[in-house]
Amino acid sequence: MEQFLQLLPQCLLDGLTLGVVYAIVALGYTMVYGVLELINFAHSEIFMVGAFAGTEVLLYLQTYGYLTGIPAPVALVLALIVAMFLSGGMGVLMERIAYRPLRNAPRLVPLISAIGVSFFLQDAVRLVEGLWKNAFYLTAPSIFPTSIQISANLRLPVKSMVVMFSAVVMMLGLHMFVTRTKWGKAIRAVAQDRDTSALMSINVDRVISLTFFIGAALGGAAGTLFACQYSLISPYVGFILGIKAFTAAVLGGIGSIPGAMAGGILLGVLESLGAASLGIATNGAMGAEYKDVFAFVILIAVLILKPSGLFGEETGEKV
């Protein structure tokens, strides 16, 4: 038990850092689900594209010696902007090509299409990186290498703070956009009832494209932050994270933006705590390798007890 208490503060911190990354990616899933009722499996690949884009920008700056010249936050913002635009654009493209023709198809079909896009992007990025750089494991330069030792058990790396700060800024930004602007209102309207929104002269297609753009841009930003935090990226980095982030979105109630944020952070913390405590709790029988199981079990439990997720709304079935 004492060991657990010693672990606790650092675990919470690491869980939070991981959690906010999950949260931003989860936002993408939840927004798309809100307007289209579609699980966008390819979102994890958008995240990966964003990671690659951001890393390439940083590497570019590094090769040309700019990295030492400009302050680190500026480099990060630059990488973020490029990544967000690239991923956002890709999201819109994806919607146009792979999802719009399937608006009226039975549920499963756009899902499979999304999976197809996901596979395609994974290998496409591998192809591009292979041709361009002759390697597809990329290492992002470390632009925030220092950390602060707060106490014997708590060490706060600067990059974690940067990641958390950027994530919070983005989440707040999204929240303000969705609640205070006209386009945000349009998105909420389409998410609630597509046909009536169309009747209210909202250009549904444009709103959906915008939703995809924002969701994908957020995913791309998360990717760049991920690259900053963990440095090593590969075309397969989106896969596991995507499943987790999606689990987070469902946990918080899919379709609900605050739900996605809460779900992401909760999942990150739970995973971290689970990994640390499982070994101690079961006396070595189960260790950190069960942390994914831990997360999924929680998900299943929540869904069985409260099927619409933590923050989701109970939508009754219309007869």
Binding site: L102, F119, A285, V293, L303, P307, E317
Partner: protein, 424 residues
């Protein structure tokens, strides 16, 4: 249908002539050139042609029997590779049919089908190798069990995996479509991770190191470990699977499932026992996977958790969807397509390109070698299939092809069904 089409203008006799020529011709060519990947593909196509040929059933079954029981083994003896491929195709076809029952017939999204497959495989693997000796003392039984137990395990696995399906289905079946998908996905991942880690405190699955060697099946003292044996085992099971699935489809249970799939609330109002039917679908689908798992373990003689990941589930699901949800022949085609793509087509293509490169005609950098980008092409095919033919290659219809239909009974449902599933 044939009447008002271009091809319908052609006399039925010519169609038959064309079809039979192709079937017989390809079979002969395949026998003469057992190394050719091309003829293998054509061979499979000829089976498809046979399916559609407007002849009576007895002749059709006879021809199929000759092809599958006669020609294929003859070719296979010369080239065991194709035996292996077609056995894999058979395994996946059965799996796809099983998943089709859950997804296609009953309309339940199941993203974790591979968990049942893994369960069946490990069930046999643990007891048919020395693994079980780790936790069952020698006084009770001697492991590995002899190959004669294989047949027992086929049945045992069907029952136990069905039980697992019930266990999973019970808490989650009241969830809405997408949530169900995620929960089943989570469940499959849980099973995989558990299998990957169940080597302490008691070593049940030997973790990521896998279990090997696994006893091959035995029949009357003869050890069945050659590819030809597995081919026949899989063939028999596949035929049984098809029969069971189509019987279910045209039975009252199948109609209940169709009702649930189309509109659950209406079905419930009509008195369909929804929960029971859903559970039944889950359990039956699971049992198919369990049986195939046992066969897989026996054939590979080695199982480890890496064969049962999320990708497998998606693979089987895509076979069902691209092939045609709810249509048994469709999912078989889907299975053929996906397995061939993964094992055969791209490799042949890139070898072909490699040969061109060796002859100096074309020079492709190692980075763009097509065999490496199978996922890319697979993804592209999925997207295209979904956009251009979302109802699948062979759309589900309650109307079975003419030769399977019972006169009169299913006529009424035809029209309604075709309306609903025709998305284009």
């Amino acid at each position: 249908m044939l009447k008002n089409s271009l091809l319908g203008q052609i006399d039925k006799k010519y169609l038959l002539l064309l079809g039979w020529t192709m079937i017989i011709g390809v079979s002969i060519l395949f026998y003469l050139f057992p190394q050719s990947g091309l003829f293998f593909l054509l061979f499979l196509c000829s089976l498809l042609v046979l399916y559609y040929l407007p002849v009576n059933n007895a002749l059709r079954y006879l021809a199929a029997a000759i092809i599958l029981v006669g020609i294929m083994p003859l070719v296979g003896m010369q080239n065991t590779y194709y035996f292996d491929v077609i056995t894999q195709v058979g395994i996946y076809a059965s799996l796809a049919i099983g998943l089709n029952i859950v997804v296609g017939f009953a309309g339940l999204l199941n993203f974790g089908y591979v968990a049942f497959y893994a369960f069946g495989a490990y069930l046999y693997a643990i007891f048919a190798s020395s693994q079980a000796a780790n936790f069952i003392p020698a006084a009770v039984a001697h492991f590995p069990l002899s190959g004669h137990w294989f047949w027992v395990f086929l049945a045992l696995s069907a029952v136990l995996t069905a039980g697992l399906g019930l266990l999973l289905g019970f808490p989650v079946l009241r969830l809405r479509g997408d949530y169900l998908a995620i929960v089943t996905l989570g469940f499959a991942e849980i099973i995989r991770i558990v299998f990957n880690n169940l080597d302490k405190p008691i070593n049940i699955t030997n973790g990521p190191k896998g279990i090997s060697p696994i006893q091959p099946p035995e029949l009357f003292g003869m050890v069945l470990n050659q590819p030809i044996h597995f081919y026949f085992i899989v063939l028999v099971i596949l035929v049984l699977t098809i029969i069971i699935a189509s019987r279910l489809d045209s039975s009252r249970i199948g109609r209940c499932w169709a009702a649930i799939r189309e509109d659950e609330l209406a079905a419930r109002s009509m008195g369909v026992p929804v929960v029971r039917m859903k559970l039944l679908a889950f359990a039956i689908g699971a049992s198919f996977a369990g049986v195939m798992g046992v066969i897989f373990a026996a054939k590979q003689t080695f199982v480890d958790p890496s064969s049962f990941g999320f990708m497998e589930s998606i693979g089987i699901l895509s076979m069902v969807i691209v092939g045609g949800m709810g249509n048994i022949a469709g999912v078989i085609i889907g299975a053929v397509g996906v397995v061939m793509l993964q094992l055969n087509i791209l490799k042949e293509f890139s070898e072909y390109l490699g040969q061109l490169a060796a002859q100096g005609i074309l020079n492709i950098p190692s980075q763009v070698d097509p065999a490496k980008y199978e996922k890319l092409i697979y993804g592209l095919i999925l997207i295209l299939a979904c956009i251009y033919r979302p109802q699948g290659l062979m759309p589900a219809s309650r109307s079975l092809p003419a030769w399977l239909k019972k006169k009169g009974k299913d006529q009424i449902t035809n029209g309604i069904q075709e309306d609903k599933t025709d998305v284009t």
